[in-house]
Each structure stands twice: as structure tokens, then as C-alpha cells.
């Protein structure tokens, strides 16, 4: 997997899938359309400011609530290259891996990285580097099974390769 590199958008605890992509937009399943409303109810400027490669850093339980895969889809389609959090809600965690949105758990990085910092993530080593501050953190590596899933490009390709 290639490294992720970009500017940080920072959020707190329990960012739920209703604020990531409000249900009033779930009458669409088009990634590009969903991206135009991403994070709307928690950060109305997100869609205006986000650039390809940018990174979301949040605290505990990111992605809690509804199982809507539209949430990681809208984040991925916004151009975000990785989400770093202290912990992820379990359905969001599965969904992100299944659709190929890189995510990484790292409490120290979540605590110390600030909004606007330039950050790089090496997925092979799990090392997160805050270029702005000149600090780095060891993120939680994926279990081997999930690495295979991610390497295949998500669950659909993984299953197709197994056929």
C-alpha cells in the first residue's frame, strides 16, 4: 500500500455516522454525490476545504451508530487518504476495510496531532509521522487476515481472487 500524506482535519469523541453523512442524503448511493455532504452536520466547511490526500484525526469511537456504508464511502470519495482515531466503532471499522478506506488506531497520534498539521502514514510499518511537529507514532498494525483483505483492494476483490 502507498503512504498517505495530507493535512489534518481534527474531531473529538463519538463522531457518529449521522453527522458523517446525514440520513436525509441516504436516498442516494452515488459516492460523488455523498461526498458533497460529507461531515456536513459536524463541520459545514469540510467539503469546501478538503483536498485529495487529506487526513481525518479523531478521538474515541469514530463512526459509531448506523451501519451505513455510505459513511466511509463519502469520506473516501471526498479524497481523504486515511482516518486515524483512538478507537473505531466496529461496524465502521469493518466497512472501511471492506471498501478500501485506510484507517488506523493510535491513541497517541489521536491525542497529539493538531488540525492543519501535515501528516504522513506508512501502512507497511504503521508509523504515523507528524511532519509539522517532527514527531512520529507507532499505529496499530492490521492482523494478517485484514492485511490480505486490504491488499486485495477490499472484500469483493478478495472473494473474486478466491474463486
Amino acid at each position: 500500500m502507498d503512504n498517505a500524506k495530507g493535512r489534518v482535519f481534527k474531531y473529538g469523541d463519538n463522531v457518529d455516522t449521522d453527522v458523517i453523512i446525514p440520513a436525509r442524503y441516504l436516498n442516494s448511493s452515488d459516492p460523488a454525490e455523498l461526498a458533497t455532504h460529507c461531515m456536513e452536520d459536524i463541520d459545514k466547511d469540510f467539503t469546501k476545504k478538503v483536498a485529495k490526500g487529506d487526513i481525518i484525526v479523531a478521538a474515541k469511537n469514530f463512526g459509531c451508530g448506523s451501519s451505513r456504508e455510505h459513511a466511509p464511502i463519502s469520506i473516501k470519495a471526498s479524497g481523504v487518504s486515511c482516518v486515524i482515531a483512538e478507537t473505531f466503532a466496529r461496524i465502521f471499522y469493518r466497512n472501511a476495510i471492506n471498501i478500501g478506506l485506510p484507517i488506523i488506531e493510535c491513541p497517541e497520534a489521536s491525542k497529539n496531532i493538531d488540525a492543519g498539521d501535515e501528516v504522513e502514514i506508512d501502512f507497511n510499518t504503521g508509523i504515523i509521522t507528524d511532519i509539522t511537529k517532527g514527531t512520529s507514532y507507532q499505529g496499530q498494525a492490521f492482523p494478517e487476515f485484514m492485511q490480505k483483505l486490504i491488499a486485495a483492494g477490499g472484500l469483493v476483490n478478495f472473494i473474486n481472487e478466491g474463486k
Binding site: 441516504l26 455510505h70 466503532a89 466496529r90 461496524i91 471498501i99 469483493v156 474463486k163
Partner: protein, 422 residues
């Protein structure tokens, strides 16, 4: 080492003698579920897979329930996509408007979820079926697609928190108060990645509808699943509903738990979750102490509290009275069968005479879809399951989660209240 109830079910489905927390397993699925929001995404995904149709047309349930009857053109297109997929693949358990209900109330009622099952659903409240002693958990659309194609899903075997229940619920206190109390105690990530196993002598006093409500909201504590033992009440329910044979599993006596929490049901009070997280709980005494909270709307329904017991509780409180001036009250029986039962028992008449509207089954207002969207600054007491920012409408609206008894009493008073206040 012994296994929890969940671990025993997962071991069976993985074809293994035993499993332990942290193991990654591939499990056979007994049912795969989707709705009108999550299924279209899954259908796009399954079409990318090199598979010939679905793994078993009898083990898939498709329930358009969120935005139906179609709320707008885009929703209509989604429903059409699901309908055509169901037709093309001859899905046995597709439920069209007229026979549908809110999925997590409908499937147990139709007897499609039984003890010992491994069930995934592309809806986070799929954990509801744990009330029947099944392992069931919410997933996303891609997992649903893979499940429909292969009949399997991967799981990381969860550890568990044991809730040892004693005593019995006081008058006007229900399973909703218990689960809100638990979420308030352990937090919205208190059971993250874990099973919540409800056990102890107090379980016997809980009705099946209470158990559905409790298991339904396991996800609101971050839980992977919530699960109840199979007892006489479960068997009585299954005798009436089950369409399949089943195996009841029990936790081993020496099963390991991360934590054991004792709860005396007799001590519970009416509990309300304040905006904007389900863990932000207050008892009715605290609410009375801190001053009146005026409300604009009440919703009684949803996969959490739209069953016949919920309707009876609300009707019993509303009977012969009228809701407070300026309040809107929306009552939504969760399935056509519940709706019909309300009709036969005279509950619809009570609701309408007291000033409520009664809707056909839909998830609509719970997620701010339609049928009760909130304006800026409005407050709603709702028997639903989430009170996140903007969940039911405007980002500056507020949701107070409560039991049907509190919701009905609040409707009469125009402020958050319990039946004892009337």
C-alpha cells in the same frame, strides 16, 4: 476454558470444537438481511462479484422499511432496485409495502430468526435477534453482499460483558429504561467490539418485547451483539412464530467475562437519554429536580419500541385523555400485524381520539428521513434509539430517548414526564 453463549454459537457456525476471544473465524450464515438504504449498495457490490446468484434464496431477507412508502423519487429508485433484485433472484423473504414492517420487529414475528442462528444484517440494529438466543450483528453493505454471495462472513470472536439481572421491573418501568440505564453506566463505547450477555434470575421476569428492546440497543453501547438465554418465555414465543428447528446454546459455567455487572431490576427508575448521546442519561427524579423540559413532538414506534406491548403501554396512558396543546404525537406500529392488533384491541381509536396520528410501518422519523422531521430548536421525546446531532432533522433540534410510558405521559403533559406525574 469455557465459552460464552456467543462463542459457542460462533464455534458451531465455524465448524470448530471451540473458539476463544480474538480468534478470526469464517462462519456459516443462517440469515442475511438488508433494507432499502443498505441493499442497493450491496446489490451494486454483488454484481461486481464473480458469483452466480445468491447462496440460498431462502436465507436472505430484504425489507424496504426506511423510506417506504417511497418518500421521494430517489428512494423509489432504491426500492425498485431492491424489488427487481429480489424478483431476479427469487428471494423468498422479500416484504413489499403492505406486508412489510420495520425489519427487526418483522423478522422475529415471521419466525425467520431462531436461537443458535448466526445472522448478519446491513443495519446496525440487527443485534435485536439476540433476544431469541441468536448471534446477530450489524454489518455494512459490502459484508451483506459477500454474505448473500457466499453464505459466510468473517468475525473476530468477541469477549463479553455479563449483565447479571436480579429482581423484577417496577410498575411503568420497561426494558427501555434498563438498556438506557446500562448505556448511561458503561457509555456509548462501553461494550466496544464485545458481546453483552444478559443473564441471571431477573431475565425470567422480562417479556420478549422487553428483551427485543434491550438487545436492539446493544449497538448503542458499542456492542457487537446482545444476547439472552433461551427460557420458557422464549420457547413460548418460538412455538407461536418459529418456522425452523433450532438449537439453544448456553454459556459454559466457567466462561470468562471481561466484566460482570450486577443490576437489580427492582431499583430501576424511568430513564431518559438527553441530547446528543444515548449515554447522557437522567432519571425522572433528576429531571423533576432540574426543571421542566418543554417538548414539541413525541414519536412512539421504531425497531426499539414499536411492538404490541409498547402500543398497549402508550394506549393505556393516553386512554380517555388528550395530548397537550401544541404537541404533535406520531404513533407507528412496527409491523402490519402489530397495526392490525392495535385495530382489533381498540388502540388505534384511543390514539386518534387523544390527538395522535397513526402511521403505516416505517423507520422514517427515527433517522430524520420523513414522517416527523424536526425544525430548528424543536424538542422531541422519542422511543427510538439514537439522539445524535441532527438525527431526526435540523442540527439544532433535540431528541430525548425514553420508554413508551414516558413518551405517552410526556405527550399528555407537554413536558418530559412519567405516568406517576399524571
Amino acid at each position: 476454558m469455557g465459552m460464552t453463549m456467543t462463542q459457542k454459537i460462533l464455534a458451531r457456525a465455524a465448524g470448530q470444537e471451540s473458539v476463544k476471544a480474538g480468534d478470526l473465524i469464517m462462519a456459516k450464515l443462517d440469515l442475511v438481511l438488508g433494507n432499502d438504504i443498505t441493499s442497493p449498495v450491496a446489490i451494486h457490490e454483488i454484481e461486481k462479484m464473480k458469483v452466480d446468484g445468491v447462496f440460498d434464496k431462502d436465507k436472505i431477507a430484504l425489507v424496504p422499511d426506511h423510506f417506504v412508502p417511497n418518500k421521494d423519487i430517489k428512494s423509489a429508485e432504491h426500492c425498485k432496485c431492491v424489488r427487481e433484485f429480489a424478483r431476479r433472484n427469487e428471494i423468498t423473504n422479500y416484504f413489499e409495502v403492505g406486508e412489510m414492517g420495520i425489519e427487526h420487529a418483522l423478522l422475529p414475528e415471521k419466525g425467520l430468526t431462531v436461537p443458535g442462528d448466526v445472522i448478519i444484517g446491513a443495519d446496525s440494529h440487527t443485534c435485536t435477534y439476540g433476544a431469541l438466543g441468536a448471534f446477530s450483528t450489524g454489518v455494512g453493505s459490502t459484508d451483506m453482499a459477500a454474505g448473500m454471495a457466499t453464505g459466510q462472513a468473517w468475525f473476530k470472536v468477541p469477549s463479553a460483558i455479563k449483565f447479571n439481572l436480579t429482581g423484577s421491573l417496577p410498575k411503568d418501568i420497561s426494558g427501555k429504561d434498563l438498556i438506557l440505564h446500562i448505556i448511561g453506566m458503561i457509555g456509548v463505547d462501553g461494550a466496544l467490539y464485545k458481546s453483552m450477555e444478559f443473564t441471571g434470575p431477573g431475565v425470567a421476569s422480562l417479556s420478549m418485547d422487553d428483551r427485543f428492546t434491550i438487545a436492539n440497543m446493544a449497538i448503542e453501547a458499542g456492542g457487537k451483539n446482545g444476547i439472552f438465554p433461551v427460557d420458557d418465555k422464549t420457547i413460548e414465543y418460538l412455538n407461536e412464530h418459529a418456522t425452523r428447528k433450532y438449537t439453544a446454546f448456553e454459556a459454559d459455567e466457567d466462561a470468562e467475562y471481561d466484566q460482570v455487572i450486577d443490576i437489580n431490576l427492582s431499583e430501576l427508575k424511568a430513564t431518559v437519554s438527553f441530547p446528543h448521546l444515548p449515554e447522557n442519561t437522567h432519571t425522572i427524579d433528576e429531571i423533576h429536580r432540574d426543571g421542566d423540559i418543554k417538548i414539541d413532538q413525541v414519536v412512539i414506534g421504531s425497531c426499539t419500541n414499536g411492538r404490541i406491548s409498547d402500543m398497549r403501554i402508550a394506549a393505556d396512558i393516553l386512554k380517555g385523555k388528550h395530548i397537550a396543546k401544541g404537541i404533535r404525537v406520531i404513533v407507528i406500529p412496527a409491523t402490519q400485524a402489530v397495526y392490525m392488533q392495535c385495530l382489533e384491541e381498540g388502540l388505534l381509536k384511543i390514539f386518534i381520539e387523544s390527538g395522535c396520528v397513526v402511521s403505516t410501518p416505517t423507520c422514517g422519523p427515527c433517522l430524520g428521513g420523513y414522517m416527523g422531521v424536526l425544525a430548528q430548536g424543536e424538542r422531541c421525546v422519542s422511543t427510538t434509539n439514537r439522539n445524535f446531532v441532527g438525527r431526526m432533522g435540523h442540527v439544532e433540534s433535540e431528541i430525548y430517548l425514553a420508554s413508551p410510558a414516558v413518551a405517552a405521559a410526556s405527550a399528555l403533559k407537554g413536558i418530559i414526564a412519567c405516568p406517576a406525574d399524571l
